[in-house]
């Protein structure tokens, strides 16, 4: 074949490829939704969208291929999707840059807002008091336990009022070192280090919401000590070993290596894969402290500030959260029977304690991710960059909690540099600029003292 013919033919073939872009369909407003879903869920959504469009005259175009790099590239090119998922660490930064629509502007007087648990709105609220994301899911924390191991040891199952000390006592009874080599074959409990902030909250740590700098008040330090003591007493496996082995916590419970495990409630993978007889209890309370049960909306759906159709995007978000079958029954809505729906889906749940744990989380506000500056704030990356080496040494018992507290000014100074860089950027909204300046001033005052 002649080379120039081959080259020309191929170029012509390539230029004839199907092209598509954003088009309004039949006079309907079309919004693009960057939807992080699996194939089955995408199919379900696609099947339901026509009915929504007929009712609302809004067409939702699904873009199932998502990721932060893609989102940022789309934004930089002025092609931001109308609706996309944001987690707590990226949301505030995007909001500060003016890239997100304040949902208050489109939801004013909308009765849908009344259907949401207040915490869902609080979770989506940024330091400038703007509401930038509608949580599309929610979970609390609970202690999953192996009923067979409790029965074999003749121990009562945990109840809803159990305390940290009861948990320790049970963990001690359930820990087993059969060969007496000093290393238990079975540990009483496992709590991932990313849940320590929830324990701090339960212990009454008064962390200011939406703060951008790390702190470790006395109640937090005390919670850390309690957590560490579980490892010191060998009631809990060494966290570094579990992390190093890349073990899924659910494996620990399934294999009988631990008798109790702190995890999210609900936890779909755990419910679907645990083959043991299990139950779930709320996190244990601290004696003398009011009950507090952490519950989060785990990020949510945000609307781009550059959307051409803010009202249509809001209608779509409401439909996705409140009607789309893949999210139903949705725990962010007060008027839906979330527990009943899940109990019907998973016959293992009735009698497991799931209902009680969920109900407690609704009754007692245990803080939200905005308190978790170390893991869920826009400065968490720079905080963790410096904090993590200290935490690693803390888990190794090479340093104490007070050493971590002593290191906080250095850690916060690093985060402050990140904030100062942000201040240099032109696009930062004034309300966020004020918050950053307030934080930096508080750091300076702390340094002077």
């Amino acid at each position: 074949m002649k080379p120039h013919l081959l080259l020309t033919g191929t170029l012509i073939a390539a230029s004839c490829l199907p092209g598509c872009g954003r088009q309004d369909v039949g006079g309907n407003a079309e919004v693009v939704y960057n939807c992080p879903a699996n194939a089955a869920d995408i199919d379900a959504l696609k099947n339901e969208i026509p009915a929504f469009t007929a009712e609302s005259h809004v067409n939702i175009k699904l873009n199932p291929f998502t990721g932060q790099d893609k989102l940022y590239a789309m934004m930089a090119a002025g092609q931001a999707p109308d609706i996309f998922y944001t987690n707590t660490t990226m949301r505030d930064r995007l909001a500060a840059e003016g890239r997100l629509l304040d949902l208050r502007t489109v939801s004013k007087g909308d009765p849908f807002v009344e259907r949401l648990w207040p915490a869902v709105i609080t979770n989506g609220t940024s330091p400038d008091s703007g509401w930038y994301s509608l949580g599309n899911w929610s979970f609390t924390l609970g202690v999953y336990y192996n009923r067979d191991l409790f029965d074999a040891a003749g121990l009562p199952y945990p109840d809803t009022a159990w305390t940290w000390e009861t948990m320790r006592r049970l963990a001690r009874r359930l820990t087993l070192d059969a060969d007496g080599d000093g290393t238990p074959e079975r540990f009483g409990i496992f709590i991932g280090s990313h849940f320590v902030e929830a324990i701090e909250q339960m212990n009454g740590a008064g962390i200011r919401p939406n703060t951008l700098l790390a702190s470790l008040p006395d109640a937090s330090a005390e919670a850390f000590e309690k957590y560490l003591s579980l490892m010191e007493e060998q009631l809990m496996p060494d966290i570094r070993r579990v992390q190093a082995m890349g073990m899924q916590p659910v494996q620990l419970l399934q294999s009988g290596r631990v008798a109790m495990l702190v995890e999210a409630v609900p936890h779909q993978m755990l419910i679907e894969t645990l083959a043991i007889r299990w139950g779930v209890a709320p996190l244990p309370r601290f004696a003398g402290k009011p009950p507090k049960y952490f519950r989060t909306s785990s990020g949510g759906l945000s609307i781009s500030s550059s959307t051409r159709f803010p009202e249509a995007a809001w209608q779509s978000v409401k439909w996705i959260v409140g009607k789309a079958s893949i999210y139903q029954p949705n725990p962010v809505l007060r008027d839906l029977d979330f527990v009943g729906g899940w109990e019907r889906r998973y016959p293992r749940l009735p009698g497991s304690g799931f209902r009680e744990v969920w109900t407690l989380s609704l009754l007692h506000d245990g803080g939200d991710p905005r308190f978790f500056v170390r893991f869920s704030s826009w400065t968490s990356a720079s905080i963790l960059e410096r904090l993590q080496p200290y935490l690693d040494r803390l888990w190794a018992r090479e340093i104490g909690v007070n050493d971590v507290r002593t290191a906080l000014p250095e850690i916060n100074a690093h985060a402050a540099r990140d904030l100062q860089d942000l201040l240099q950027r032109e696009g930062i909204k004034p309300a966020f600029r004020r918050v950053i300046e307030r934080e930096l001033r508080s750091l300076e005052r702390g340094a002077e003292q």
Partner: protein, 289 residues
């Protein structure tokens, strides 16, 4: 020392050297094969088996149905056809453009050739992250987003690494062939097409293999430029098997791995088919140039 004694010493020295070498190679092989073996093993489990403790490398029953399930959960064959379409066009584009440019750099004398070649190579230093957003903006302005054009058209403008590889190979082909062809009345394009390309098959096989594997497995390009499920490639489809909607959703690892095995198969087949050319091309292109 007797002849026998010397022979024995040499024999044992060689044996021990080879034993150590093969042991080391064996260990390295195991190291590289372990993820592959794990992928095969997981693809035959159910989800509970993936998280069983202790993990069983060989499942009680290998679940072949996982492969069927993957192809039914996704429009697998549609995605495979999309991927093949992109890969074939990229392959043609890369082979044509890179070989043509390499031919120019290796055979045609012109002012500034070496500078141009250095400039071409220097583009390799640019990390993808730096060019991602400008390229995306360019393709937006061309109206190419959500089409295959951003994935295919750049292949027709050469790739510095392959240009370098082919140029090195072309330089090993004696110029006497060109001179003989010129005497027979061949022009530059004829020499390129009828003399150089047939002689450069091993190097072209290397470029073709690298391009095929790179394009077939490419995740980032399709992720950035494609939006509609109908246009998806296999790697994008595979990513959809991960359940991400619900914060604590379960990733179906066994299906994910079964899908990965299926996607990988063409790579393995092509590698074994082209192995001879591949090794020769790498050796000649890389060492003699």
């Amino acid at each position: 020392m007797t002849e026998n004694g010397r022979f024995g010493k040499v024999f044992w020295a060689a044996l021990s050297r080879y034993t150590v070498m093969y042991l080391l190679l064996g260990v390295l092989c195991l190291l590289f094969l372990a993820p592959f073996a794990w992928m095969l093993s997981v693809s035959g489990h159910d989800l509970a088996g993936v998280f069983a403790e202790p993990y069983r490398w060989i499942p009680d029953r290998y679940r072949w149905e996982n492969f069927g399930l993957v192809t039914s959960l996704l429009p697998f064959w549609r995605y495979a056809a999309n991927t093949l379409f992109i890969t074939v066009l990229v392959l043609i584009g890369t082979l044509l453009s890179c070989s043509l440019v390499a031919y120019g750099f290796s055979r045609i004398q012109f002012r500034g050739r070496d500078t141009l070649f250095a400039l071409c190579l220097s583009t390799m230093m640019l990390p993808g992250q730096v060019t991602m957003i400008p390229l995306y903006m360019l393709f937006v302005s061309l109206g190419w987003i959500d089409t295959y054009l951003p994935l295919i058209v750049p292949a027709f403008f050469g790739s510095p690494f392959y240009i370098f590889l082919l140029r090195q190979f072309f330089m090993t082909i004696p110029r006497e062939y060109d001179e003989a062809a010129v005497l027979d009345g061949a022009g530059r394009l004829r020499i390129y097409w009828s003399i150089i390309l047939p002689l450069a098959r091993p190097a072209l096989a290397v470029v073709a293999l690298f391009t095929f594997v790179g394009t077939w497995n490419d995740f980032f390009g399709p992720l950035i430029y494609l939006n509609s499920p109908e246009t998806a490639t296999l790697t994008l489809g595979l990513s959809m098997l991960k359940s991400q909607v619900v914060g604590t959703g379960a990733t179906q690892w066994h299906l994910l791995m079964a899908g990965a095995v299926l996607i990988m198969l063409p790579n393995v087949v092509i590698f074994f088919l082209a192995q001879k050319h591949f090794v020769k091309g790498i050796a000649v292109g890389g060492l003699r140039g």
